[in-house]
C-alpha cells in the first residue's frame, strides 16, 4: 500500500473505501431508505428471484437510489413468484407479483422514483398475530 500523502489524499481513499461499508452503514437506519424484500424460498428461486435480486442490487446502485435489499422466505403467493415487497420511507409496504427483470425496472422507475402504482400489486388481505 502506498503512503497517504495528504489530507486530500486521505479523503479520496475514504471515498473509495466507503462503498465496501455501505451495506453495513445502510442497515443501521433502513427505515429512512427504500426497503425491498425479495421472497427467496424454493418457489421464488425456481421462478428467478435470484436474478431479480441481483438486478435490483445493481440497478439501484447505478441509479443512485439508496436502498436496503434483503431476502425473505415464502410470502405464500407461490403462484405469483417472484414476489417482492417494497417499503418506501414512512409508507405501508406494497407487494408486487410476477416480478421479472423488466417488471423490476418498471417498479424502480415508476413506483420507487415517483410513487406511481404499477400493475401486479398483490393486495394485502390477511392479518397476522402481530397486528391484533
Amino acid at each position: 500500500m502506498a503512503k497517504v500523502k495528504s489530507l486530500a489524499d486521505l479523503k479520496k481513499i475514504k471515498e473509495d473505501l466507503q462503498s465496501k461499508m455501505d451495506l453495513r452503514e445502510k442497515s443501521t437506519h433502513p427505515e429512512n431508505l427504500v426497503q425491498i424484500k425479495v421472497a427467496m424460498a424454493t418457489c421464488g428461486i425456481a421462478s428467478g428471484a435470484k436474478d431479480v435480486m441481483d438486478y435490483l442490487i445493481d440497478e439501484l446502485d447505478k441509479r443512485n437510489i439508496e436502498a436496503v435489499i434483503t431476502q425473505t422466505g415464502c410470502m405464500g403467493y407461490c403462484y405469483a413468484e417472484p414476489t417482492i415487497e417494497v417499503t418506501l420511507p414512512n409508507q405501508e409496504p406494497v407487494v408486487f407479483g410476477y416480478v421479472n427483470v423488466k417488471k423490476a425496472d418498471e417498479i424502480i422507475e415508476k413506483f420507487i422514483k415517483n410513487g406511481e402504482l404499477v400493475d401486479g400489486i398483490i393486495p394485502v388481505n390477511y392479518e397476522t398475530i402481530h397486528s391484533k
Partner: protein, 333 residues
Amino acid sequence: MAKYKMHLLVCGGTGCRASASEEIVKNLKTIINDKGLADEVQVIMTGCFGFCEKGPIVKVMPDNTFYTEVKPEDAREIVEEHVVKGRKVTRLLYTDPENKEHISDSKHMGFYKKQIRIALRNCGFINPENIDEYIAREGYQALGKCLSEMTPDQVIAEIKNSGLRGRGGAGFPTGLKWEITRKSKADQKYVVCNADEGDPGAFMDRSVLEGDPHSVIEAMAIAGYCIEADKGLVYIRAEYPLAIERLKIAIKQAREYGLLGNDILGTGFNFDIELRYGAGAFVCGEETALIHSMEGHRGEPTLKPPFPSVSGYLGKPTNVNNVENLCQCPSNY
C-alpha cells in the same frame, strides 16, 4: 470483483473467542465456499458487541438479525436457512426476558435501545484488523484536519470545549492536561496511553483496543501534535494478549499508510508509537507508578507535584491519558 449482498459479522472479542467464535468464522467460511456463495456473502470478524453474556454473537447485515449463543455447529443452519432461503433461525434469536418474545433486530433490544455509541462507535461494526474499514468510517480524518487545518492551540481549545475529562477515575479535564504539557519546555516529550486496566471485571479499555485500536492510535497522534511530542508509548497489561496483537497490527498498518512515522500526511509532523507491557500490578494504573514501571523501577506512586506533565517518563514532560479517554478525541473534529 465480488459484490457482497450480505455481511456476516462475528464477534471476535475475548469473551466470544473463549466460546469458540473463531471456529464459527471458520465453519461459516467453509460452508459459504462450498455453496459457491463466497462472492456474495462476506464473513467479518469484528470487535466486541458488548453483549458478552449471550455470546458468541453473529449479526447478519443488511437485515440486522442478531443471533446469540451461537455454536460452531449452528453455522450450517445459519447459512442454509438464513443466507440461502431468507428464513431466520428463530431459536438463536434473543428472547426478551419480560414478554418472552423473540427479537431479531438488536435495535429493539432493551440492552441496546438507549445506547448512543461514541467511544464504542466502531466496535462490533468494523474489522479491527483492517485499517481500510476504519478509514471508511472517517478514520484518521480528525488527525488530518488537526495537522493540516488547525494549530495545536485550536485543537486543545476544541477538546476543552467538549468538556472531555479523564476516564481513568479522577476526571481531570483532558484539554487542561494537554495545555499544561504543551507549555512545559523540553527537548523531548511523550504521549502515554494508559491501558493498564486493573479493576477486576472492568473491560472497557480492552473492548476498545480489541475492537477499534486505530481510534487510540489516531488520538495519540493528535495529542502528540498538541504537546509537541514525537513519541507515544502504550502501557498495556500483558494479560491482554488479543488487545496487544490487534494494537500491533494496527500500528503496523498505520505505519504502512504513512499515518505514523515521519512527515505524516505531508505536514512535517513526526510521530510513532511503541508498546510497553505491564506485569499486572493494580497500582501501575496510577500515572506516576505507571511511569516508574515503564522506566524499569518499582511500580510505586510518588507524590505530586511534580506532575507528569512537567516531569514524567525519563524526567521529560509526559501526557498520560486513559484508553477510553483517548478514543473519544477523534469524534470531536
